[in-house]
């Protein structure tokens, strides 16, 4: 349908039309019409050669039908909206005077669509509010039904993208899909690069000792920072967040719906696996002194394809810290000797215990007996460990007992024997296997802590990653009381050892030991498996028990190369996602400064990460958040998430 609105020469096409839409609120000039019902239209200008440039391409029009008082209570939303109104203090900086002229030429309420920078969909009613670039309310409508609002949102998504804000999922930033700034839209608070203000971060040091004052001080700084910055999309967002945070004092955020507009992930790119690192490739990297020339490229090759079995013995010793990556052959010789000496020194500590001494040392004898029991049932199906009086079982026992003395605080915990078994099977030398095991344990030691917090944390991270990649699956877990992800416990504790064949374990572990392409890549392997099995997991209304059973029964059925391949694809999707959150960023150690498309740097060099100091930032967020929530004043809602 063509229509002519305003300008007699301009042609408009109706994109949307809905009767029975209440006008809740708008600019002051429309006050007499507040609470009236009317028809809401969305018009699109059909441009032709004669079109005047000042005619907006799309606009919302609301035409009053009658003046029936808005009697609907709108109770649950009312408080919030009063507060929003109270924010209207700053002068309006609406862009484009031509729009105002255009609007003034028409009697009905008109809102130029390009002026709408954000919109809010509330939960209990179908109230929908449009804001301009300064968070000023343009218009607030009540749709007759939720379907009509969904239809409206569906219509506008043909030409704009709605991005929920991270802190408040009922508020959507409206972005022209073609806008160049869209990519960077979801940049976090951290990306505001507050660290340039050194005094700001110096507050951190005092925040624990003097939480309330320091938090207030910090808050004031943030406020100042946000308001003093100009013309930047990120700052606009922060401004908007802050504005609302202040306005929503005492607000109940649960009054808002999470209107389900899926965040789009970038397309999954296939990263094909390559051939394993060969002896030739390895040798080519060694200089005259036997030193590796280019460690990064070696690690990349290992990550891409693993290691050829014939040089695994050597390379694993580098991966597990037995040899430093930059060592010369001569240094490695010396290390072999010193490591042998120290191993036997530690070993001698327990081999020389007398029976009586052992009886008086129950902490040791209990652990010793547990090691014996576990070793006796570790990988006995493999020929290497099969049969009675197998010498290799005896060696596993020796190594674990020596480790027990080496790290008595940790002790022996079930699962460790499974981490040692593949290492010993490859190296076939107690000394080397011991020190390589020590290297591996350094990476995963916290998994075996008494409080199990590290495991719980990983399971939580796993959930967050699944939620990011496959919200439908995470929702399923949530709805079926398995959001704790305990069914992944075994995967994470022994790095999929129990699900895979020995050669597959070796392949996976060497890939993971490179530390590429990001921190906690082993979690993404799990995400890849869950995603791969999603249909089976969600079928038959499975609950926790069925899922646990299903996961446990995946043993021997996984294609690990495919899962590594998927996990890498997932990693790149996450890294390049427009809506990447800090929580996910932190799990994978993706630096804030790393813009999409850049090659990531691995985490494992133990060097402090360049760029924004994330740990500080996390600490800061945590302390601020907890201090604000716990302070009795509680008058401010801070813009950070927990």
């Amino acid at each position: 349908m063509d229509d002519i609105v305003g300008d007699k020469n301009a042609k408009f096409k109706e994109l949307y039309n809905q009767d029975g839409v209440f006008l809740r609120q708008a600019g002051e000039m429309y006050t007499p019409m507040f609470g009236c019902t009317g028809s809401l239209y969305l018009w699109e200008h059909i441009s032709d050669a004669e079109s005047k440039p000042e005619v907006p391409s799309r606009f919302l029009e609301w035409r009053p039908q009658d003046f029936v008082e808005l009697k609907t209570a709108l109770d649950e939303g009312s408080e919030e909206w009063t507060l929003i109104e109270s924010v209207k203090k700053r002068c309006r900086t609406s862009s484009g005077n031509m729009v105002k002229d255009f609007l003034n030429s028409i009697g009905n309420l008109n809102v130029c669509f390009s002026n709408i920078k954000s919109l809010r969909c509330s939960k209990h009613d179908v109230l929908t509010t449009f804001y301009d670039g300064s968070c000023e309310l343009l218009a607030s409508f009540v749709f007759p039904t939720s379907e009509s609002r969904e239809h409206f949102l569906g219509t506008i998504q043909a030409f704009v993208r709605l991005q929920p804000t991270r802190r408040d999922k009922s508020l959507f930033i409206v972005y022209d899909a073609a806008s160049p700034g869209f990519k960077d839209l979801e940049k976090s608070f951290a990306a505001l690069d507050l660290k340039t203000d050194s005094s700001f971060w110096s507050l951190l040091k005092n925040i624990k000792s003097n939480p309330y004052e320091k938090s207030m001080e910090a808050f004031a700084k943030v406020t100042g920072y946000v308001y003093n910055s100009v013309d930047d999309e990120e700052h606009y967002m922060a401004q908007d967040d802050l504005q609302r945070s202040i306005s929503e004092i005492g607000d109940d955020a649960s009054a808002y719906a999470v209107y389900d507009i899926p965040n789009c992930l970038p397309m999954r790119v296939d990263y094909p696996r390559c051939n394993p690192l060969t002896r030739e490739q390895w040798r080519a990297q060694l200089n005259g002194e036997g030193q590796l020339e280019d460690v990064e490229s070696i690690k990349t090759l290992i990550f891409r394809g693993g290691i050829s079995p014939d040089i695994r013995r050597v390379v694993w010793k580098f991966l597990l810290g037995y040899y430093p990556w930059d060592s010369t052959e001569k240094e490695r010789h010396a290390l072999d000797i010193s490591k042998m000496e120290s191993y036997y020194k530690i070993k001698m500590q327990w081999t020389t215990f007398s029976k009586e001494q052992e009886d008086n040392f129950s902490d040791f004898s209990q652990r010793k007996s547990l090691i014996e029991k576990d070793v006796n049932r570790t990988d006995r199906v493999l020929d290497f460990y099969a049969g009675e009086n197998n010498y290799n079982i005896f060696s596993l026992n020796n190594i674990l007992l020596t480790y027990l003395l080496y790290n008595f605080d940790l002790g022996y915990v079930q699962g460790m024997s499974y981490l040692l078994s593949p290492i010993y099977m490859l190296l076939r030398c107690e000394v080397e296997a011991f020190w390589c095991f020590v290297g591996f344990m350094k990476q995963v030691m916290s998994n075996f802590d008494y409080d199990q917090n590290a495991m719980k944390e990983q399971l939580k991270s796993m959930y967050l990653l699944v939620n990011f990649i496959d919200p439908q699956l995470s929702k399923y877990f949530e709805d079926h009381e398995c959001a704790n992800m305990y069914f992944c416990f075994r995967w994470l504790l022994v790095w999929y050892k129990r699900e895979l064949q020995q050669d597959e374990v070796a392949r996976l572990w060497e890939v993971l030991w490179t530390g590429y392409p990001c921190k906690n890549f082993h979690l993404l392997i799990g995400v890849a498996i869950l995603e791969h099995e999603r249909d089976a997991l969600m079928g038959d209304n499975n609950g926790f028990t069925e899922i646990l059973k299903f996961i446990n029964e995946l043993t021997g059925k996984l294609d690990i190369n495919l899962m590594i391949n998927h996990a890498e694809g997932i990693y790149h999707q996450i890294k390049d996602a427009d809506h990447l959150t800090d929580a996910v960023r932190n799990i994978l150690g993706i630096p804030v400064a790393e813009a999409s498309g850049l090659q990531s740097k691995p985490e494992d060099d133990r060097s402090p990460r360049k760029g924004v100091s994330e740990p500080d930032e996390i600490e800061f967020e945590k302390s601020i958040y907890s201090n604000f929530l716990s302070s009795s004043t509680g008058r401010l809602v801070f813009l950070f998430r927990p």
Binding site: Q366, L370, K373, D374, N376, R377, T378, R380, V381, G411, V413, Q414, G415, S417, Y418, F448, Y450, D451, Q452, N484, Y486, F487, F489, R490, L493, V494, R498, T545, L548, K549, N552
Partner: protein, 215 residues
């Protein structure tokens, strides 16, 4: 122990009457044979070098008892003290528990008593607890006397049997004894009607225990 009457058997594997479903959890020190008991009960198998349980395992087995089909949802847990903090998740809501110890190891009996105490204090109030003294096939290395355990069980109102997952001795019986003791009221009844009962043991490798299973 087992009901030998055979009245529950129906032609074509159809068992009539009600269906009850129970959550059962196995607890006990590591390497006492929890997983082996379950494997024997559910699959009729025994592995000399049964791998340690990491996290937890879940299995089901259905048995028939007179006119009732009892479906056990069995949670097999990791035994080591270190993983104790995960245990409540598994025994929460359980109607039955088998606390297992190794008759050749006195410490495991002590640990079993601790589990019993914890269950009595923290699990469902009406939980049926059975005490299993496993590895009865190693009776020549016995460190826990039968009478000692029996007295303890009586004092605490526990079912008690010495079992051997290796020889299958008393394995089905202890599950049957639990099934008998569990209240088969409406609460535990499934959708009703008849359900195809599974064979009690699939492997057929064990001696007949007289368990009353569906055919």
């Amino acid at each position: 122990m087992a009901n030998r009457s055979g009245t529950a058997q129906r032609p074509n594997g159809q068992s009539q009457g009600k269906i009850c479903q129970f959550k059962l959890v196995l607890l006990g020190e590591s390497a006492v044979g929890k997983s082996s008991l379950v494997l024997r009960f559910v699959k009729g198998q025994f592995h000399e070098y049964q791998e340690s349980t990491i996290g937890a395992a879940f299995l089901t087995q259905t048995i028939c008892l007179d006119d009732t089909t009892v479906k056990f949802e069995i949670w097999d847990t990791a035994g080591q003290e270190r993983y104790h903090s995960l245990a409540p998740m598994y025994y929460r809501g359980a109607q039955a528990a088998i606390v297992v110890y190794d008759i050749t190891n006195q410490d495991t009996f002590g640990r079993a008593k601790t589990w019993v105490k914890e269950l009595q204090r923290q699990a469902s109030p009406n939980i049926v607890i059975a005490l299993a003294g496993n590895k009865q096939d190693l009776a020549n290395k016995r460190m826990v006397e039968y009478e000692e355990a029996q007295t303890y069980a009586e004092e605490n109102g526990l079912l008690f049997m010495e079992t051997s997952a290796k020889t299958a001795m008393n394995v089905n019986d202890i599950f049957l004894a639990i099934a008998k003791k569990l209240p088969k009221n409406e609460q535990n009844t499934g959708q009703g009607g008849s359900v195809q009962g599974r064979r009690l043991t699939e492997g057929n490798t064990e001696p007949k225990t007289g368990a009353n299973c569906c055919k």
